[in-house]
């Protein structure tokens, strides 16, 4: 008994997938942008902070890294509104969750990058009379970004794929769109083949673009 591939029903509902992909990208870009701010602020603080602040930042990073994202999504979407008597929609809830999640990973990336900037460069910045903030913005930050670009690319791709978890709280992103088509047409093989291809092409496209950026900013 053979299974006959039939993509017609998929193409008929393709707007669900296309719209889902756009939303996935929006969720990823927003969360990564907020995560970058969290990561930069905390990493900068960490490298100059005392023991207590380091312990607090470390605890945040370890908590996030050791709890599955799907649990955090449930916790923020179902748990927090009850506990704090708040109301927010699913996409907002997911962006908040993924921002906190990406922030923890990015703290680690930025922290190791900041610590990898050669001491001699900071000495050189001091020697020409730059103030601490000038040294940070003109010497440490640009070098750190170049050092961390490869690690950043990998983190960004992972975070883009992590947006599929938003389907569990009915955010209509790409994976949710696939589930909807599956439930309504039962073309399970076709729809997941198409969606896999869409993730693959988008992820690879992102990686290619990021590699171009890396090449442009490579430190020789």
């Amino acid at each position: 008994m053979g299974y006959h591939l039939n993509f017609n029903l998929i193409w008929r509902h393709f707007d669900k997938l296309w719209g889902g992909l756009i939303l996935s990208l929006e969720l990823a870009v927003l969360s990564i942008a907020i995560g970058i701010v969290i990561g930069l602020v905390l990493a900068t603080w960490y490298v100059s902070a005392g023991r207590v602040a380091r312990a607090v930042i470390g605890a945040y990073v370890e908590f996030i890294r050791n709890v599955p994202l799907i649990l955090l999504v449930y916790l923020v979407f179902y748990g927090l509104p009850k506990a704090l008597n708040l109301a927010y929609d699913a996409p907002t809830s997911f962006v908040a969750t993924l921002s906190i999640y990406s922030g923890a990973y990015l703290v680690e990336v930025f922290r190791s990058g900041l610590e990898a900037v050669p001491r001699g460069q900071l000495d050189a910045g001091k020697a020409i009379g730059l103030t601490p903030w000038q040294r940070f913005f003109h010497v440490r930050l640009p070098t750190m970004i170049r050092i961390t670009l490869p690690a950043l690319s990998n983190t960004f791709i992972s975070l883009f794929k992590d947006t599929s978890v938003a389907s569990v709280i009915a955010v209509p992103e790409l994976t949710y769109g696939a589930q909807w088509i599956n439930f309504n047409t039962f073309r399970i093989v076709e729809v997941y083949l198409v969606v896999t291809a869409m993730y693959l092409v988008t992820g690879y496209g992102l990686l290619f673009a990021l590699r171009l950026v890396e090449r442009r900013f490579r430190v020789r």
């Binding site: 001699g120 460069q121 000495d123 009379g129 003109h138 640009p142």
Partner: protein
């Protein structure tokens, strides 16, 4: 020339005056009451075995290292600390201002890798001296030409040889028009065939009256280019004076004799 600067040093307060400088890293005493003066326009070279405190001494002068006691004054102004009901470390802004007047060239070049040669020179001129972009660019081109790299203004450090990078390092330091230039073993990381081009630049700066305090292992260069040589051993000044006197003293100063013998074997 040596006589005139020594006469100057005797009658005026030296530009750089180090008195009773001590510094420890943990239990290790690196500097043990060092006294050293450098007059305006004078070139002073510090030599000595590794671990004798030469580099630490240099790094204290622009406060890249803190010091425990004693004083370092440039133009009469204490470098790292002020007297505010006790010895108080200067604030970062004050330190930045003092460092801007103290140029430094490093053993490992320490160029900013993301900036071109010209941008390396321009950064301090723009952010510290407050020059416009056009002024800073013109100054950068002037100084890069002076070190023979006018044609490399838009090259990144990674595209330059070690000798070229070090000359950019010199241009970056002197473009700030410092009162004194500190040179920390600036040829030690270079291939032998690139040492000459860097020393040539230093020689021309000396000829123009730039005040310099340098640490080097190039004894022959120190002998030819400096007004005075200071021999350091165990964190103290063990001998100091005009090159001919200090190098001649090797016959009755055992430490100095042993130190120089190693160089004679390989360099002379």
């Amino acid at each position: 020339m040596i006589q005139s600067t020594q006469g100057g040093a005797a009658t005026h307060a030296p530009l750089l005056a180090i008195e009773g400088l001590t510094k420890s890293f943990g239990k290790v005493e690196v500097l043990r009451s060092v006294d050293l003066g450098v007059a305006k326009g004078e070139v002073v070279t510090v030599i000595g075995p590794s671990g004798s405190g030469k580099t630490t001494l240099l790094r204290c002068v622009n406060f890249l290292e803190t010091y425990d006691s004693g004083s370092i004054r440039i133009d009469g102004r204490e470098v790292g600390y002020k007297d505010a009901g006790g010895r108080v470390r200067r604030g970062e802004r004050e330190l930045a201002g003092i460092r801007a007047d103290t140029g430094m060239v490093f053993q490992s070049f320490n160029l900013f890798p993301h900036l071109t040669a010209a941008e390396n020179v321009m950064l301090g001129l723009r952010k510290v001296r407050g020059k416009s972009k056009a002024e800073a660019r013109a100054a950068a081109e002037h100084w890069l030409s002076r070190v023979g790299l006018g044609h490399k203004a838009d090259s990144l450090p990674g595209e330059l040889s070690g000798g070229q990078q070090q000359r950019v390092g010199i241009a970056r330091a002197v473009a700030m028009e410092p009162k004194i230039l500190l040179l920390d073993e600036i040829t030690s990381a270079l291939d032998p065939e690139l040492v000459g081009e860097v020393l040539e630049v230093v020689r021309s700066l000396a000829a123009e009256g730039m005040t310099m305090l340098m640490v080097t292992h190039e004894i022959a260069f120190a002998r030819d280019a400096s007004h005075r040589i200071v021999f350091m051993a165990d964190g103290k000044v063990a001998a100091a004076g005009p090159p001919s006197e200090v190098l001649a003293a090797a016959s009755h100063n055992q430490r100095l004799g042993a130190f120089l013998a190693r160089f004679r074997a390989s360099h002379f």
